[in-house]
Amino acid sequence: MAAVKEREIPRSIYAANSFCPGCGHGLVLRLIAEVIDEMDIDRDTIGVLAVGCSCLTNRTLAIDLLQSPHGRASAAAAAIKRCRPEKLVLTYQGDGDAASIGIAETIYTAQRKEKITQIIVNNGVYGMTGGQMSPTTLVGQKTTTSVKGRDPEVSGMPLNLMEVLKSFEPAYMARGSIHDAPHIMKAKSYIKKAFAAQMAGEGYSCVEILSPCPTNWHMTPEESMRRIGEEVIQYYPLGEFAKGGDQ
């Protein structure tokens, strides 16, 4: 066999994760770790973790980490960046954290053009607490608090973060997905561009990543990835929504 491209687990991943089988978090973390390693900034990166499944990042990602109260990751991260402007500061949040309890912090971090990167993993449910409806749960989607499916008359329409944040003129903003290999590579490129924008001092950046929660979607891992590709991206279109500087 001809020489192949070797692949190692990035050095910024230092231990196995404890997510459920098929969970997308482990993948998103690996992409973040790959980008950190490729940019050689693992000693200059500070992460702020949200509450929920994001907490489990603590034992996997080998960078300085702070665990913020629920919803407040971007506020804490903005303060860290203001105190240590030379560092790359990122948040790692779920949709419940960033788009529900922390929507005010998310909006005002973008509005103040805080020079941080929010990584928001959107799986459409509150995972850690057992699959309740989140702001991004799709219409008709069954959860433990919308057992007949999300009814827009009762719970409103799913929240589209990219649309909400667009008007604040972020330096970089994109929505990716990890439902197959090409999209995984694309999502990684979004993370890299966001980090590059921050390191260039350009302002606020945000990457939302559509991710599966097989456990709470009551699907096999494969079915959940298929659902993203066939259903979820219809409501949450992928792509770059803001490109500042030389992007």
């Binding site: 960078i63 300085d64 005010a104």
Partner: protein
């Protein structure tokens, strides 16, 4: 340098002198001057000022800044202070130094935007979840706003804990002559525990989270917490005694109320009534040593405070060791000297009902 300053402004300047270079907060009466003052003063000294979208963001920005080793502060009052409680609990769990100011107002809910002492419980009893404690300083003058703010930053770092300055609308709004000390330089890089990017000491990065998960064995965490708070309780009690040596009745009061009580002691003494006062300067730890020193000789304590039902009086009763405790919660008005003297007469005559 001696100068005339408003209490809130003096407190804000004291933070600058203590080396505080990060403030995040939200307007609420009667603390807003702290926010206003620092919005211009912090940038002058190269610090960061953020007017946040809410008190929640304010306390959590302080959490982030504190984690980097910067001296950081936020301030609020009443309802806004309630919103900060979760953040204070997190800062306590991470054992980060920070200073939180509550310029108290009166009342439940919206209450009244003027002065009051309505937040004793939520400041002193660990107002957020989980059972933490914070050092609480209760200044009673503009000068003490300066002195205890500077002390608060030092103690916050000594114990790695949030420290609360429990001021009130009167102390915040009044102007008095004040002596400002020399400013200090603070080096945020002097601590090994701060977030500054992983290094050889922490090859996997610092995990700035509840220390319960990372720094202690399962059985070691609870003793650690108990030791930590016991040390503060033993070493940090501060109080002032006014004519307590031969006192028959001792008033217990802090902040603005203690200024009225000081006058009441003087007036009573002029009439031959042996009245004294214990003024707690730290509300947590409550100066129980002061009560234990006097409760063998004194006939009664009278707790005077500016709220509807009495809050501090519960701590007075806790440490009175059987000495009768009486209450004068003055409600939404400052305690009245004549009323204090009248209640003292009732206590001496045996016609006043004990608080508990």
């Amino acid at each position: 340098m001696r100068t005339l300053m408003k209490g809130n402004n003096a407190l804000a300047e004291a933070a600058i002198l203590a080396g505080c270079r990060f403030f995040a907060g939200y307007p609420i009466t009667p603390q807003t001057e702290i926010l206003e003052y620092l919005s211009t003063r912090l940038p002058e000294v190269g610090g960061q000022f953020v007017q946040t979208e809410s008190e929640l963001a304010g306390i959590n920005m302080v959490l982030g800044a504190a984690a980097t080793g910067f001296r950081a502060m936020t301030s609020s009052s009443g309802p806004g202070f309630s919103l900060k409680q979760e953040g204070i609990s997190y800062i306590s769990s991470m054992e980060l130094p920070a200073v939180i100011v509550d310029v108290m107002r009166y009342g439940i809910g919206l209450g009244n935007i003027t002065l009051g002492q309505g937040d004793y419980f939520q400041a002193v009893k660990g107002g957020g979840h989980g059972g933490y404690k914070t050092l609480v300083y209760a200044p009673s003058s503009v000068q003490e706003n300066v002195d205890y703010t500077i002390l608060a930053f030092d103690k916050a770092e000594e114990y790695r804990t949030p420290v609360i300055i429990l001021s009130d609308g009167a102390i915040g709004q009044m102007a008095e002559s004040v002596k400002l000390p020399e400013g200090k330089e603070h080096d945020p890089n002097k601590f090994e525990w701060t977030l500054k990017g992983k290094d050889d000491t922490y090859p996997n990065g610092r995990k700035m989270t509840d220390r319960i998960y990372y720094d202690f064995k399962y059985t070691e965490y609870d003793p650690h917490i108990r030791d930590r708070y016991s040390a503060m309780e033993e070493n940090e009690q501060m109080w002032e005694e006014v004519e307590t040596e031969d006192a028959e009745i001792i008033l217990v009061a802090y902040g603005i109320t203690s200024r009225v009580c000081r006058g009441a002691v003087k007036a009573a003494r002029a009439n031959g009534v042996k009245l004294g006062m214990i003024r707690p300067i730290t509300l947590w730890p409550f100066p129980k040593k002061a009560l234990h020193k006097t409760n063998k000789t004194v006939k009664a304590y009278l707790a005077v405070e500016m709220n509807a039902c009495g809050q501090m009086v519960e701590d007075v009763a806790l440490y009175a060791q059987g000495t009768p405790v009486y209450a004068y919660p003055s409600g939404r008005v400052i305690a009245d000297q004549e009323e204090i003297l009248r209640i003292v007469d009732e206590i001496r005559a045996g016609t006043r009902k004990e608080a508990f």
